[in-house]
């Protein structure tokens, strides 16, 4: 057979490869360099394309899709500005370990390096913000690269992978060869199964603990829903307390009495103090981020630390640990449970009881308390009411970045993984709304809510057009305090109340804005009408923008000021004068 007769174009071949990878949805935006791909998409009906209004939103939508399903999110953008606009999303996915394959158009190979129209050095620009990237120079490599890219994106610690596709490669012809399964990569083979000896050692340490704490993060979400079940089982078997990172919320049921809430800069008093005073810390799938540790020299100084992570470079990066177990969180937990059952270790119940008594004393501080009056809605109250109305429904939450995000993490309760999509590592304002679109595409009948601030939502507000086009009933729940709240809070606490550029002047009328895009707009500023508004929002089977006017000066507490230790927590507004932030802390973000 001559190649010309049987062969397909690079673009058709790409679509075939995506279908073989069981891709269902592609989030994208067309342009000159990717026209052959759009032509191939037009001629088939297996792949669904969602047309976003900005390439950054395409990546965030794919992230929402990926985080809520565990599948790889797929993005398709054109060369030059298409690719550069995707960079924020790619960096976000890298920081939060989200599996993404991003296809970028490129000028034809003979023009590369000539400053051609819409040319950018995409592999150069995206090298530091992807797990890996490829420039496909010959159509014969295309299918192999696509399958390899999916393998790399989803294996080990997941992350974004870019495939840069010159236009001539998309138009040249070649035979398609379906991938061999499973893919045997020649160099990238992450360690999934743990060293059994390390697990034995870990169990020994865990069983001998007197003041233990589990500290579980996003690695458990990435290890699949089974890992969360195993975590819950193991934590119950031990009877030990557990705290979650921002990314790990939902991996252990929030309503469980062993759960201490989130830890870190805006974590609970009990979680942070338990971390400080513990004697054995069991970190599973978290990375000792600076939002968690605070001042490193004062971070849990008396504990033996166990760190379970699939990425060896996370181990001993910020905090030196006593025992490292490299492997997938699910596999490690399975082994831990097996060894624990086999050994039936004798836990020091007396010590554990005393430890819980101490924790309960910290809990009594009721660190998330706030005062709701009859006049203005407190943001915390808005979220408590929101949770009350959604808790018995099939719901997913995304957030933007700032105070509202931290309040959402504190006041919404997550009982399962994959239900909470937020930008943790990069802290990308504008993440939540497009992410919610991706979640809604994956779960058409679920209630998907983007908890937003009025500043963040403006960063990807153009996507109202996308939700209108695809009739996505996403709810945008804006806690509107007319400030970039977290910026304002830091200016109040650290910069003498000089609110430099943090006031949101000339905000749009969000109700009219929603209506202009064919969505429904609601507004609420009275505490006693809040329940009605929320119920209305839920009842409307269309996209809804809810503008909740909240207290403009409310701050997010507890707070560990940057550079401070876990015991140096600000619990409320009256706490602030007593503890000036150190100079060292001022330079930190």
């Amino acid at each position: 057979m001559k190649p010309e007769e049987s062969a397909t174009t690079g673009a058709d071949l790409l679509v075939k490869a995506l279908i073989d990878e069981e891709v269902e949805v592609v989030f994208g935006y067309p342009g000159g360099a990717v026209l052959p791909i759009y032509d191939s998409l037009f001629k088939q009906n297996r792949l669904r394309h969602i047309l976003v209004r900005h390439e950054q939103a395409a990546v965030h939508a794919a992230e929402g899709y990926a985080r809520s399903t565990g599948k790889v999110g797929v993005v398709l953008v054109t060369s030059g500005p298409g690719a550069t606009n995707a960079v924020t999303g790619l960096t976000d996915a890298l920081m939060d370990s989200v599996p993404i394959v991003c296809l970028t158009g490129q000028v034809p190979t003979h023009l590369i390096g000539n400053d051609a129209f819409q040319e950018a050095d995409t592999t150069g620009i995206t090298r530091p913000c992807t797990k890996h990237n490829y420039l496909v120079k010959a159509v014969g490599d295309l299918a192999r690269v696509v399958h390899e890219a999916f393998y790399v994106a989803r294996s080990g610690r997941p992350g974004p992978v870019v495939i840069d596709l010159p236009k001539d490669v998309l138009m040249n012809k070649h035979d398609y060869v379906a991938p061999k399964k499973p893919v045997q990569h020649k160099s990238y083979r992450p360690q999934v199964k743990p060293d059994p000896k390390k697990v034995e050692e870990a169990i020994e340490l865990i069983a001998g603990a007197k003041r233990p704490i589990f500290y579980a993060g996003g690695g458990i979400v990435n290890a699949g829903p089974k890992a969360s079940k195993l975590l819950t089982q193991f934590v119950h078997m031990t009877g030990y307390p557990i705290t979650n990172t921002l990314m790990g919320l939902g991996t252990f049921p929030a309503s469980d009495k062993q759960f201490l809430g989130m830890l870190g800069m805006h974590g609970t008093y009990e979680a942070n103090l338990a971390m400080y005073h513990c004697d054995v810390m069991i970190n599973i799938g978290a990375r000792f981020d600076d939002r968690i540790t605070g001042k490193l020299t004062e971070f849990s100084p008396k504990s033996k630390k166990i760190h379970v992570d699939i990425d060896p470079s996370s181990i001993n990066k910020n905090v030196r640990v006593d025992l490292a177990v490299v492997g997938d969180a699910g596999h490690v937990l399975e082994e831990m449970i097996r060894v624990w059952k086999a050994r039936q270790p004798k836990v020091d119940h007396k010590a554990l009881k005393a430890w819980w008594a101490e924790i309960d004393k910290w809990r009594e501080r009721n660190c998330l308390a706030y005062k709701q009056d009859k006049e203005t809605i407190k943001p915390q109250y808005a979220l408590e009411r929101l949770y009350h109305h959604i808790k018995d429904r099939d719901h997913y939450i995304t957030t933007e970045v700032g105070q509202h995000q931290m309040w959402a993490a504190q006041f919404l309760k997550f009982e399962q993984p994959n239900r909470w999509m937020t930008s943790g590592g990069l802290g990308t304002m504008g993440y939540g709304f497009p992410s919610a679109m991706g979640v809604q595409i994956a779960h058409p009948d679920a209630l998907v809510i983007d908890v937003a601030g009025e500043a963040s939502i403006m960063m990807n507000i153009q996507e109202l057009s996308t939700v209108a086009q695809y009739r996505l009933p996403v709810k945008i729940f804006i806690l509107n305090n007319q400030y970039m709240g977290m910026v304002r809070q830091w200016q109040e606490l650290l910069h003498g109340g000089r609110y430099s550029e943090s006031y949101m002047e000339s905000l749009p009328d969000f109700v009219k804005l929603a209506e202009a895009f064919g969505a429904v707009g609601l507004r609420c500023h009275e505490p006693d009408k809040l329940d009605d508004t929320i119920q209305q929002m839920i009842a409307i089977k269309k996209p809804v923008v809810v503008d909740v006017l909240v207290d403009k000066t409310e701050n997010c507490f507890p707070m560990i000021p940057s550079g401070a230790a876990h015991y140096d927590m600000l619990l409320g507004p009256d706490d602030r004068a007593a503890k000036p932030v150190s100079e060292e802390g001022m330079v930190l973000v």
Partner: protein, 166 residues
């Protein structure tokens, strides 16, 4: 913790961008590169060997190795400094322009250092000197007083002693 120098061998796929990936990793994470050499070493398997000399505290060195190992096209990372005895070699081309006694002295020292003359004109030499970095540096230092005008160095290549391969 005291920073110390480590020689690290990295076996990588010889593909476009691999050097940029490695160098970008070092600049992006604020690590030092004291010396870097790279060339294809296995044409059949399409592999290159990168030798990096870097300095850092033990924690930083451990990070550098883990970060290198995490790059998708990296096959192997070996810290020769901690994994037992190894040998290091560097080659330099050293151009000296002088006449009279200085010219004679340069030639005599070259002989002591077993440097080869690979180009000669009536008023200049180019020497090729091979050895560990100290030796190369010492030779260059001596030539400074004898009309040194140009130096080119390869950077360090290194290998473990004994029969084990990378």
């Amino acid at each position: 913790m005291i920073a110390s120098s480590h020689t690290i061998s990295v076996l990588v796929d010889n593909e476009p961008g691999i050097l940029a990936r490695v160098v970008g990793l070092f600049s992006g994470r604020g690590y030092n590169i004291e010396s870097l050499t790279v060339a294809e070493t296995d044409a059949k398997e399409n592999l290159s060997r990168i030798t990096i000399v870097t300095a850092g505290t033990p924690m930083v060195i451990e990070q550098i190795k883990a970060q290198l190992d995490r790059l998708v096209p990296v096959h192997k990372v070996r810290d020769l400094t901690v994994e037992g005895p190894h040998i290091e070699r560097e080659l330099a081309l050293v151009k000296v322009k002088s006449s009279g006694d200085k010219r004679v002295e340069a030639l005599r020292l070259a002989d002591v250092f077993r440097a080869k003359v690979i180009d000669a004109k009536m008023d200049s030499f180019v020497f090729e000197v091979t050895g560990n970095s100290d030796k190369v540096q010492t030779f260059i230092g001596l030539m400074e007083g004898l009309g040194l005008v140009d130096v080119g160095r390869t950077g360090i290549v290194a290998m473990s002693r004994g029969g084990d391969a990378l």
